[in-house]
Assembly symmetry: C2
Homo-oligomer: 519 residues x 2
């Protein structure tokens, strides 16, 4: 029994039984310990952005954290962008980052770096385990921190010698994480929210985090039906229960002008686990806050609070019975498009219509998928996972992790090509693990968002340098070849008819499948 065993046992005792990993030399004692724990499932990513993005997708669906295993500062660095997304989603993640032996750090060997410094910007909690006897306690603290509502990124640094130091059985005994219940909102907040809704003035309920899950939406839907208050979500959300008979929720648009327009008439914005909405980026002459200065923002509950309880109290305050009717979607699925040239809107219609019951949708469609959300309100019931922090390269890893968490559900990923290239190595993990991931690559061969942004800065005809930074068409990426290179079956289609056939085939395919949709 050594420190690494103690760490593994504490992870397992607290139901952390999946480890997304890309280990190196300093983690070998931990790998050796994992080898002694067959209950801990190790999933290799060929790049750390895959590892951290998969941990995010896993925890969004499993509602408990996975561990990651990363190799010193550079390995953690490679995982930072998707940790940023997970941090913004408030997904629970327990990072284990190996380091040199404590006595070796001062020698400044080539792989030495300030790991705490690398970890801190994308972690809610960072700790270095100073001795093998402390690992169990430290790991339990990391897990408790990760699980504390609404979810946190906990990074535990594991020096090689704390991993390899021998312990007695008593010293190595697993430690249980103490996770506090989410705090409750206050009666004052409930009354203030109720007053806003009763005012008769234009009021919107903005739902975030756990308020977008089925149980919370159930209550929000009764409130909306009874009072006429509008329900919307933030632009980017961790996980939304959607489709079927679930309560429909609008979404604040990404483009600044559309976002401003959506809230321009709102007098009262009631936040339920959401933040006061701000522009994704600043633009000259446009405000940073989206709410008009004349409007009022009322917080029913903050993201760390029990949002189901808060909505339930609000319904009580408004006198709405638990049996009251609930807001229903009036959206209807458009018919499948006729055969013809494939484009983004056609793909959105087809996917919305063919989406199987209980699917998980990972959405990194960027420009091309903006209509999908609205259409899929009428789809079969599904969970919808989004890019939460704006750091592109989440889609393929997220779907990988979601599929590990939910092996019996189909994971459909809408993946922009430019973003997909960031972490394409995830396809290999999907192949190795035989994951039921159906990925649609929206191959427009450009950073289309940026073309839009160039117009906003006044450049309507990009020149040589700008085009070479925004376009991906020379040479064109061949996603069928890229997928094949990582052991994933793939087809390329450019007509609606072929896309429909490929999508149906992909749904019936066991294991990963990629459709390159040329649009």
């Amino acid at each position: 029994m050594n420190g690494a065993d103690s760490l593994c046992d504490t992870l397992l005792a607290n139901d952390v039984d999946v480890c997304f990993a890309n280990p190196g030399t300093s983690e070998m004692h931990f790998v050796a310990a994992l080898d002694r724990k067959p209950r801990l499932r190790c999933v290799l990513g060929l790049f750390e952005g895959v590892v951290t993005g998969a941990a995010d997708g896993y925890a969004r669906m499993a509602d408990r954290p996975a561990a990651t295993l990363l190799h010193l500062g550079p390995g953690l660095g490679n995982g930072l962008a998707n940790l940023h997304n997970a941090k913004r989603a408030r997904t629970p993640v327990v990072n284990i980052v190996g380091d040199h032996a404590t006595y070796h750090v001062g020698f400044d060997a080539p792989l030495t770096s300030d790991i705490e410094g690398v970890a801190r910007p994308m972690s809610h909690w960072v700790k270095r385990s100073e001795h093998a006897t402390a690992i169990g306690r430290d790991a339990a603290d990391a897990i408790a921190t990760a699980r504390r509502a609404p979810g946190n990124i906990a990074t535990l640094i594991l020096p090689a010698d704390t991993a390899w130091t021998e312990l007695s059985a008593a010293q190595a005994a697993p430690v249980m994480a103490q996770v506090p219940d989410a705090p409750k909102t206050t009666p004052d907040c409930v009354r203030a929210a109720a007053a806003a809704i009763r005012s008769g003035e234009s009021t919107t309920l903005m739902l975030g985090g756990a308020a977008l899950r089925e149980d919370a939406l159930e209550i929000a839907g009764r409130i909306a039906q009874a009072t006429g208050v509008r329900l919307i979500s933030e632009t980017s959300n961790k996980r939304v229960s959607r489709g079927g008979a679930r309560t429909p929720v609008g979404r604040l648009p990404y483009p600044i002008d559309l976002a401003l327009k959506m809230l321009s008439e709102v007098r009262h914005l009631v936040l339920v686990g959401a933040a006061d909405p701000v522009a994704f980026f600043a633009y000259p002459g446009k405000p940073s806050r989206i709410m008009p200065e004349t409007g009022e923002v009322v917080t029913l509950a903050t993201p760390d609070q029990d949002l189901v309880q808060a909505l339930s109290w609000l319904a009580d305050e408004l006198g709405i019975a638990a049996t009251a009717p609930r807001l229903q979607s009036v959206a209807e699925l458009p018919p499948l498009p006729a055969d013809g040239k494939l484009d983004g809107p056609a793909i959105n219609r087809i996917v919305a219509r063919l989406l199987p019951e209980n699917a998980i949708v990972c959405d990194e469609s960027i420009t091309q998928g903006r209509e999908f959300a609205q259409l899929a309100e009428a789809s079969a019931p599904h969970d919808w996972l989004q890019l939460t922090g704006g750091a592109i390269g989440i889609g393929l890893p997220l779907s990988t992790g979601a599929a590990v968490a939910c092996p019996d559900r189909k994971v459909v990923t809408l993946q922009a090509d430019g973003s997909g290239m960031y972490t394409l190595q995830a396809l290999w993990t999907q192949a190795r693990e035989g994951l039921n991931c159906l990925t649609v690559i929206l191959a427009n061969r450009t950073y289309a968002t940026l073309h839009g942004e160039m117009i906003k800065v006044g450049v309507t005809e990009p020149g040589h340098n700008a085009r070479r930074m925004l376009d991906l068409n020379a040479p064109p990426l061949d996603w069928v070849a890229l997928s094949k290179g990582m052991g994933v079956e793939a087809v390329s289609v450019d007509s609606t008819g072929d896309f429909i056939r490929a999508f149906e085939a992909g749904l019936n395919h066991k294991g990963p499948f990629v459709i390159e949709a040329l649009i």
Copy 2:
């Protein structure tokens, strides 16, 4: 004229005329400014690890920095691992990292992060440009810092509004960087080094950084020939002038036991721009320092000092004339292997023999290429660039940057497959730019280093979990398909005869070419 124009003009005025880039929305004004400066060559990387690794390769060969353009904290995060390598190599790099407008940061929009925090661990210098009028001065400081010997990572954070704010022509005038000369070593240091060499006891001269370039090696070679002192380099080096009639230099081995053995008898170790050697990793019961405690370490010159001058003074002190004979390599190229099953040693022999005059070798061969260095001492003259910081994923980006710097030279990359997967997106940039990069993928389908390290921690028969974290064979990666997917021609070979033919074809090929060597 705006702040972004001022930045571009200052870059150009200081001969920073290549920008490796992956921009986002917050950098659009900078992209628009680049579009007005056709002299600034913009090279797109489809992932930021490609961008920073290419900037490293460029500067190692061009002896001046390139700029990088990165998108906020996550974009910089994606580039950190190769910045770590560049920092360890002391390569000059000027990072431009876009941020939200100054007034927008406080609103905590989804892409907001602590960019200074992300930058600091892998930068020597970090600054935020607070106003458009300061950008010229700040950029000149960044360039001066990057160029100050032996080279530094300078990171300039560019808020969107400092880029877009209008300036008068006078305010926007380019600022010249003031780069100080490298300081000189002291007569005391020269005398101490000379005394060690004259002692008659076992003495080794350990060369690092600029001491491994042709002009310095010329002098070191005369010293070695006249005194019998041994010349070695560190394990990982930025750039070594090798082959042909150049002074041969040994190399401290990576495996700890071999490294200890190499220095076990040394009484005096004279450092010339190298660090007191330490183990790459710590192992239970092994020392961190490689030099025996009984030995003496003498510093002739530190990495920031003028190393050619230091060696020249040392030669003078030892009374060695500038016309004195120089140490010659006694290595001979082994013949090409007979046709048969391909393996690492055969590849090393073939590449060493066929390497064309003036080639650039980018070496991320990890386990398979350890013999290459010694063999290639007898190759045609070439520059040899290594993985300096141990953060894998440098090879393909490094060769990309080196080829941009030296369009008339052939860049041969020895690339381990596991490491290559980290930043395979570099192949696309090679295709787009038509770079003369010939890449050999050493496809052993495993993290072979880690198998070796597992044995060192006592695991001779890895179990299920360990094998799944160390092996890359299920499914096998298909590098021909991966290369094709990014527009690069490729072949797969598994015999020495086919490898020889493929390597010769690759040398004659214009533009990038990949050989998947199944070993």
